[in-house]
């Protein structure tokens, strides 16, 4: 499996646009900056929704209004982050697929998506009974706490990707080599 992922990353790395994006100082930095600054729209809106459910923000605004009205800018933000995230991966594919932090981040993003789905499902089922209350019911609050926790770790992992502590071109423990998916005899890092 690791070899398959590695070969795919090498294939992506061989495409001319990947090298061009990676080598373009300004373009790469623009894409990365857009990825980071869009946090203000995507995570900014998401955290306000979560904080509303916990009763820590906008306690006197109906929860459904906050969730509905902030959903559109939040999705716009996540779309931009998704596109710029794909571009960042496209620019540095081999190192990314063998980064422990990138892998944890991807797993957590799946966790975030599942949590968001369950959160909205549970909220839509019951919101009419607690819409004007300062705090949402316990299970909605649990979803909001999970969301805050997951996304905080996603941001931390995103930041850690820039560091080379567990890169495959350094001697690593067998566990790290397994988690990072280091391939024997690999020629690129």
């Amino acid at each position: 499996m690791s070899e398959l992922i590695y070969n795919f990353a090498v294939w992506v790395d061989d495409t001319p646009w990947s090298a061009m994006l990676h080598e373009s100082y300004y373009m790469y930095n623009w894409v990365e900056s857009t990825h980071v600054l869009t946090l203000m729209i995507s995570l900014g809106m998401l955290f306000l929704i979560d904080l509303r459910m916990l009763g820590w923000a906008f306690p006197d605004v109906p929860a459904s209004k906050i969730a509905d009205r902030l959903n559109i800018p939040m999705m716009v933000g996540f779309t931009v982050m998704f596109i710029t995230g794909i571009l960042l991966f496209y620019a540095v594919p081999v190192r990314s697929v063998q980064s422990v932090w990138f892998r944890i981040k991807m797993v957590l993003l799946v966790g975030c998506a599942i949590n968001a789905y369950l959160f909205h499902k549970r909220m839509n089922e019951s919101v009419s009974s607690w819409d004007n209350e300062a705090k949402a019911p316990q299970r909605i609050r649990n979803g909001a706490m999970l969301s805050l926790g997951f996304w905080t770790v996603v941001v931390i992992c995103g930041r850690f990707i820039a560091y080379d502590w567990f890169d495959c071109d350094y001697p690593q423990s067998a566990f790290i080599e397994f988690v990072a998916g280091c391939v024997d005899g690999q020629t690129r890092f």
Partner: protein, 194 residues
């Protein structure tokens, strides 16, 4: 009865004057004397406990950076919601007053998070940022943002919003979004410099 020539805009005019003076100071030779004087402060920052932790444990530094980013995300969310409401594009069916006041309560915590994590990060790389022009642009932007928020925007929106000229309100909202975006963008650019 004679009124002050500055009228009701006294605080705004003083704040804008301070910001203008800071800009003139920053972009002329006037800053050189102060710049040399504060070098020992930055050298001292690296010797503090924050500086020691920031330089010794990369993971601690990166985690605090992540906290800084989360603070930025929440602050950005508050600015966009509050100013978006003043512009009439977000939460239009919730009264201005509620959106502006409730967003401001969260904004305060987000700003405090940014300042605390920012000081920690600055201690870890104090001498690097001392020589980075973009760091000083960010500090200038941050000072402008805080002054603008607390001495122009906040007093303005404390009035009955329906009585304020809508164009003034919209210009204030746009200026607020731009100044905080500038702070975030220059902060990002620090990572690419030096």
């Amino acid at each position: 009865m004679p009124t002050s020539i500055l009228g009701p805009y006294f605080r705004t005019i003083v704040t804008v004057s301070v910001i203008a003076a800071a800009l003139v100071f920053s972009f002329t030779y006037a800053r050189n004397g102060v710049y040399v004087e504060i070098q020992p402060l930055f050298e001292w920052m690296e010797t503090t406990w924050f500086g020691y932790v920031g330089k010794t444990w990369g993971a601690a530094f990166a985690t605090i950076q992540a906290g800084h980013l989360i603070g930025l995300a929440v602050l950005g969310g508050c600015v966009l919601v509050s100013d978006g409401r003043l512009l009439g594009v977000v939460l239009t069916d919730v009264p201005h007053r509620i959106v502006v006041d409730r967003a401001d309560a969260v904004f305060r915590w987000a700003l405090a998070t940014l300042l605390v994590t920012g000081v920690f990060m600055a201690c870890g790389v104090a001498m690097k940022i001392y020589y980075l022009p973009v760091y000083w642009y960010k500090m200038l932007g941050l000072a402008c943002g805080i002054l603008f928020h607390y001495y122009v925007r906040r007093p303005l929106v404390a009035h009955e919003l329906g009585a304020i000229n809508p164009i003034v309100l919209k210009m204030t909202a746009i200026a607020s979004i731009l100044v905080w975006f500038l702070v975030a963008a220059t902060g990002r650019w620090i990572g690419f410099s030096g």
